[in-house]
């Protein structure tokens, strides 16, 4: 066989191999790092010590980040520029999560006080609320506002408790499998999705609390810690120990995983929460690295 023929054959073989291998490979990851929210100051380091919560404010086009390490709230613009640092009355005690209501009050979960704390920015007032459900003390953890109601994860029971705007408990969503509890939840299109961290199961409930579906994701994640629903309905699960994100379709099939543990750009170290902003960008509160990493398509 001539040298030219040999080259042709080996070239053809390479192309065929490539065509065969491509569809067998893992799904392409569509996410690319875009920016970080952090406050790196020359000779002063990063001012965020342990960010734990994020709220995306569509009206003001801002990100609010809770830094439980310095008991502060930080705001950033959409380009990641730091705008302001708020230490309301120097009195927040281990703030964890944050949302804003329609009346423009910020609501902060203060773990150190075990309260839901209302910060009225206009009235410059701070009011702490201890929550109860059925006479029992609630230990607020994750929180979301939907249709004017507060949904709060009660860490001590692992139940999602719905409160009306007077902070009266009106519904509890609990794990249908025995006494296990949830570690995170999210609300999407009227459904409530919850995550059992230890058993590695995602539950989908109707707004009435009726169980619609559940997915066992144990084979695909090590320590699932937070859940979010993407713009196209895919389920995004943050793996705290692996520093990765696992993406599932709406029947719980793994589509792809991306990111890994570490400190460099785009890597995660003990990430805490995952959310989408209104631009469809994926935001991950990267606690261990003192930043929020934002990925776009």
């Amino acid at each position: 066989m001539s040298k030219l023929n040999k080259l042709c054959y080996s070239g053809l073989l390479t192309i065929l191999m490539g065509l065969w291998v491509a569809p067998c490979g893992a799904a392409e990851v569509p996410w690319k790092w875009q920016l970080s929210l952090n406050i790196k100051k020359e000779r002063q380091g990063n001012q965020m010590l342990l960010p734990t919560g994020l709220y995306v404010d569509k009206e003001r086009e801002r990100y609010y980040v809770v830094d439980s390490g310095s008991n502060a709230l930080h705001s950033f613009d959409l380009q990641g520029n730091h705008l302001n640092t708020l230490k309301p009355g120097e009195q927040l005690k281990q703030p964890y999560g944050i949302v804003r209501d329609a009346q423009e009050s910020l609501w902060v979960v203060e773990k150190g006080r075990n309260t839901l704390t209302q910060i009225d920015l206009k009235g410059k007032k701070i009011v702490t609320h201890s929550l109860k459900s059925g006479g029992r003390e609630i230990f607020p953890d994750r929180m979301q506002i939907s249709d004017g109601n507060f949904f709060v994860l009660d860490k001590i029971t692992g139940r999602v408790v719905k409160f009306d705007n007077n902070l009266q408990a009106i519904q509890e969503i609990y794990c249908p499998d025995g006494l296990a509890g949830f570690g995170d939840f999210t609300i999407s299109n009227g459904s409530i999705l919850t995550l059992d961290i230890v058993r590695k199961v995602i539950y989908v409930f109707k707004s009435t609390g009726e169980l619609l579906n559940k997915f066992d994701i144990g084979a695909d994640v090590s320590f699932p810690y937070a859940i979010e629903v993407g713009p196209s309905g895919q389920l995004y699960v943050l793996d705290r120990h692996e520093g990765s994100v696992a993406v599932f379709d709406n029947v719980g099939e793994l589509k792809y995983k991306f990111l890994s543990k570490g400190q460099s750009r785009g890597r995660l170290y003990y990430p805490e929460d995952i959310q989408f902003d209104y631009l469809g960008r994926l935001c991950i509160v990267d606690s261990g690295n003192g930043r929020v990493e934002i990925f776009g398509r």
């Binding site: 281990q94 860490k155 296990a180 058993r199 400190q263 261990g288 690295n289």
Partner: protein
Amino acid sequence: MKISIYFLIFWALVGTAASASGAQEKLCFGCHERKDFAKAVIHQPVAKGECELCHNPHVAKYKGLVQKEVERLCRSCHVDIGKAVKQTTQIHKPVSEGNCLACHDPHSSAVKGLLREKNQKDTCLKCHEDMGKNFKYTHLPFSRGECSVCHQPHQAERLYLLVADTDDLCRSCHKGTLAEFHKNFPSKPAACLTCHNPHGSSRKGLIKDILHEPFKSGCGDCHDGKGASVGADKCLKCHEDVREQALAVHNHLGSTTGNSCVNCHSPHASDGAKLFKTRLEQVCRGCHSDTFKNYLGKLHSHPNAAECANCHQVHGSNNLAMLKGDGNQVCNGCHKTQGQFTHPVGEGIFDPRTGMNMTCVSCHYPHGTDNPFNLKQEGSKDLCIQCHRGY
């Protein structure tokens, strides 16, 4: 004609193979005492005289002139065990370490399963020494040395390598007697191990040695008598110090059992003063099996890595990963000279990747890695150029 040629070739090959293994056997046993390999239960390759299946007669990289690392060698035939281990999270320590020979004799044994010791109990107690203490009252399978009645030897889906869920396992023998022995029990008898030690105890009924104070005086302090489960909020009313710790950013209030306290503690009786359900290592492993699996499989791991409470604040902490301090404070508790002569760490020394203060965990994964000193990456270059890009 053709068929008879094939027939001849086949028997020639069989004959050659047989004489080869026979020759191997003769040759090896010329020096190695045959009787040492001829106990009641003989490993199949030994019985067939196939010494070279495992050993290289001339040279090898591994002790005992074995062809491969022991774990790989064993799994090359015992494929099923290898597969099962990969699919489970609860793995017996010698199995996860690839130390098959901790329990098994690779040649022959007096006991089924090629166990090293004279019986199952002695094999298990060789490591689980604390189980061997002389209890006043013992559980029958334990006193008979029948560990495998309750435990799997290699891997299992359940904690403690149990063959079934604890209550189901207990009920599989104690059928019908439960109600009789629990006449005033406030609900259906369950969660047997919150009161009973499955191996033995100094108390009758195998009740564990240390009792929770309210349990000593009856059930009414905690239970309402209507069968309702007792929430952790009730526990925290007495244990105020724990409540303070649990009001930390990262805490262990998360419930897996309806009461987050009983994730780890027994509400009734225990073998230790802190009323842990079992040894702390096993308590932690119950939820954090991935952490254990990760570091147990690494080439380098932290000594006493399973002593979780040395570094972690078990109820709650305002530090990352529920550590007792930041990434320096915790390590400096033991590694007192670190930071003084090594890479600068601490306040004002910033990690360029994050802008955070450099700490020990900027470069080390404390549980374990495949790199010496538990470094995150290979220490002569890969790790350093993460920050020192100019080099």
